[in-house]
Assembly symmetry: C2
Homo-oligomer: 115 residues x 2
DNA sequence: TACACCTGTAATAATATTATTACAGGTGTT
DNA sequence: AACACCTGTAATAATATTATTACAGGTGTA
């Protein structure tokens, strides 16, 4: 296994939204910059921005800030290559490394879990 | 493909919660009835009940109301056998049948989508 | 300078999800 | 009857997510 429970949870949270599923589908065509994609799917840029960040945090898309030929800053997003096989076994395994996010910074330093 | 976009969305929504992931992991041992599982994972029964319903709606667990030997009604939940391979391709395909839930009952009867 | 494009973010409102509490009703046993 | 178990659900509170609006700042071109 190479994904922790919390990482897997973030993936599910990222995919548990119709807009974000559509964003993934759209980015499969080609990479796009934020304003471009916002026009395409008729969504306000700040909102799309938030959705893209959620996808990026989950590792499903990758954002890169580039400078276009005419000097404008363009934030391009492209799909990451992901491939999760969701089965009861897989989830059970991941749950072993699923910890309370609330306590994340609060808990005492421990003997390194599964790094 | 044998899952619609909205069905897939429900699966993701169901799995986008740490409790529900733990429930799935726990049910992998064996089927359990609600009160039993509630004690095990230290969760109030009404709350667990709600989580189980979300999992059931998504098709990830199956609930069966049975009568125990001593006549008590017992609601057993067991894992469904699911196996989703989550890739950009899969999501893109599913998005083709992803519709606004808000309009679900509002829209005019159409020429049968992909049944 | 004004305009048409871009990014990034903060404050707020609207909605949805999660969680609690309190019920009502059903067994069989003491 | 009182008790110890079960299921099912409604009303409400607490939180988290989603969405909007309004900014500030950066390009190059007319």
């Amino acid at each position: 296994m190479d994904v922790t429970g919390n990482e897997l949870l973030q993936v599910f949270e990222a995919l548990a939204n119709p807009h974000r599923l559509r964003i993934v589908a759209s980015l499969r065509e080609k990479r796009k910059y934020v304003s471009e994609l916002a026009r395409e799917i008729k969504m306000s840029r700040p909102l799309l921005y938030m959705h893209l960040q959620r996808l990026e945090t989950a590792g499903l898309v990758i954002g890169k800030l580039e400078l276009s030929d005419d000097g404008k800053a363009m934030k391009y997003f492209e799909l990451a290559e992901f491939d999760y096989r969701i089965t009861p076994e897989f989830i059970t395994e991941a749950v072993r490394t699923l910890h309370d996010k609330a306590a994340e910074g609060t808990e005492a330093p421990h003997t390194k879990e599964e790094n």
